[in-house]
Amino acid sequence: MMRYLVRRLLLVPLTVMAIVTISFIMIHAAPGDPVLALAGEHGDRAYYEFMRERFGFDDPLPTRFVTYASRVLRGDFGNSYVQGRSAAALIAERVPATLLLTASALVLGALVSIPLGLWTARRAGGRWDGFVNFFALTLYSMPLFWVGQMAVVVFAARMGWLPVEGIATAGSDATGIHRVTDLLQHLALPAVVLASHEIAVLTRLVRSGVAQELGRDHVRMARASGLSERVILLRHALPRPMLTVVTVVGTRIGQLFAGALVVEIVFGWPGMGRLLLSALQARDAPILLAFFFLVSCSVVIANLVADVIYAAIDPRIRYG
């Protein structure tokens, strides 16, 4: 068991470095001259020479990679070409907002899908089971940004229940409970929209997992010894599907980030998504590379954590 974990841990730096190297090569091998996108439109030839020299665009690719890699090892991700500030700081400023959005989407996903999954599992094959399954599949088939836009128009604009965009009311310096309610009102719509795909996936997972468990011998034995339906559902039928939920959530982190990027743009949420998009348009390499570093780290670690949780809960792996 430990040998497996150590091997996985060794893999983390290898995978992350591979991703950062791939993106480095892609960014710098792409056609088009980055300094033009970066340094505005109205300069003259001398101005572009000056900027190219400042950002070191002229030195050959391998040397630039070595300098970049050595600095990353020391924790310095370089400064954003456009904004002159440290790429790590720029991203760090926006991480809390994205984290809040993705975490609330996950929590919402779990809170809805576990009870719903359990409820439909007990009615497996019935009318309601079919309907919920179809609804989940439809949710999973809708493009997030399209749902987001529709939601903004209907709930925010027409009904006026929720704010149209942003993370807080303009200029409000409310504190304490008012600030929290204001934040929740702004978080409601984007979190629900982002959670739609999670709910779809997790509900179906819990449903098929629990339905399968209910057919197993140990559930029949539990019933034969007179345990109540509630105990059977929660203690006997739920644990194993919850494990699959954990592993699947671990693997979906990448997709969750992608969804967050799109939802942030539609709802004006001040997360990392928009920084990435503007960095893409301006070919701001330090930000792009720092971003890929962060995302790949979190995806790899999420997978690892999911595996550790799996091993922790299933004794056969722990003592296997």
Binding site: L36, R85, G166
Partner: protein, 493 residues
Amino acid sequence: GDRTTESRPDTLVAAIESDPGQLNPAITTSGGVHTVADLLYNGLVGLDEHQRPVPELARSWTVDEDGRLYRFHLQTGVRWHDGRPFTAADVVYSFNEVLLNFHARTRASLRAVLLSVDAVDDSTVEFHFRQPYSPFLQQLNVVEAPILPRHLYAGRDPQTSRHNIAPVGTGPFRFVSYAPDAEIRYARNPNYFGGPPAIAAVIFRVIPDPTAQVLALEAGQVDWLFGVPAAQQKRLRGNPRVRMRQTTIGSGGTNCMVTLAFNLDRAAFTDVRIRRAIAHAIDRNAILERIQFGSGRVPLAPISSRIPLATAPGLQLPVYDTALSARLLEQAGWPRGQVLDLKLLPSFRAYAELIRAQLRAVGIDARLQLLEQAVFVHDVFDRRDFDMAMISYCNGTDPQIGVRRQYVSSSIGAVPFSNAAGYRNAEMDSLFDVAGRLVEPADRQRTYLHIQQLAVRDLPYIWLLESEATQAHLVRCAGFAFGAHFAATARCR
């Protein structure tokens, strides 16, 4: 809680499309930064509604040695937001250390002709030029030459200075706070030398999605939009609580003209009849009505009609006439259905699709290639690998700044948004040199008329549309100025 701006009457909430990233207008020409940062700073000479120079940090000025020496007398008693006094040393530092290195437009136009910038005393600055330079007064406002506090920037790299996100300026508003990708807050500068603004605070809200901006305005959660997309204008026109106005003055560029450039090096365009036929095939009114819903003007001359110096009475641009176009194509022996590629930036997609449809009617198949900014500039200006390209040239407040680079042969090549057509005409080159040195406006106007006649004759470009920005604001606020200090004169109830 009430989310509308009524709840805080003396605060103006303005929506912006993207987070500026940093708030130092002297090191960049990016519209995003200037739209937000210009309120904190000043230039030596401002520009009024009609782009005429008006005193700002410079109380008065004199021009001697027939246009080679400009002497500016600074306002007295002006203080930076941190209380330190504003002096001539700040102006000298801003030009020599920052603007002439990092501000692309100012550097491109002044570095070659400016000899020196000297502070005669604490309140007088002199600019010495190698040769007469007439457009100088048009290039000293806060958009082209913002003045930075020397005592905070001297000796440090202006691109990475801490003050870029905690700016100290002299402008009508002073900096309060900056929450990235969310909100930037300013407060009124009580002892602003131009008189304290009526509004107590300005808040910039970052709302990337244009539709969301319009919804926020209608819901009263935002007071001011810098730009309303054409499609939404019809909707807002019917809203009693909203006022809209047109302007060609933008922080990213002024008096911009959407043009279609022909690559004259390509065989297809050596025959002027082909270029003229294409011009006749394009219905510019359809572009104005269908894409901009009437916001903007169909150009009557190669240079923006908003620049007084460039008025060109009696000039006739090719009129929309498909029959004439087809005939011209036939005479020039154009093989029907031959493909031309049209490269453009994604923002001009609607224009290109309309033009493609119109060209198809006369037997020209235009294949669109939308390119990302870096690739577009590289293909069109560096490698000149294109048949036609759609480019928005901002003519600026003086033809020497924004128009000259389009036509002079010296700017063909690596410089972006320069002579895309690759137009080489010695007469045109000399005319522009003369226009730059002339001092009398009447003489300059005659020269520019001659330049425009040459352009219409040779038709290196087709001038499609003088674009205008449509700004919108709630009726609770009024008195907005034009240009960078839009909020300085506004008041809200």
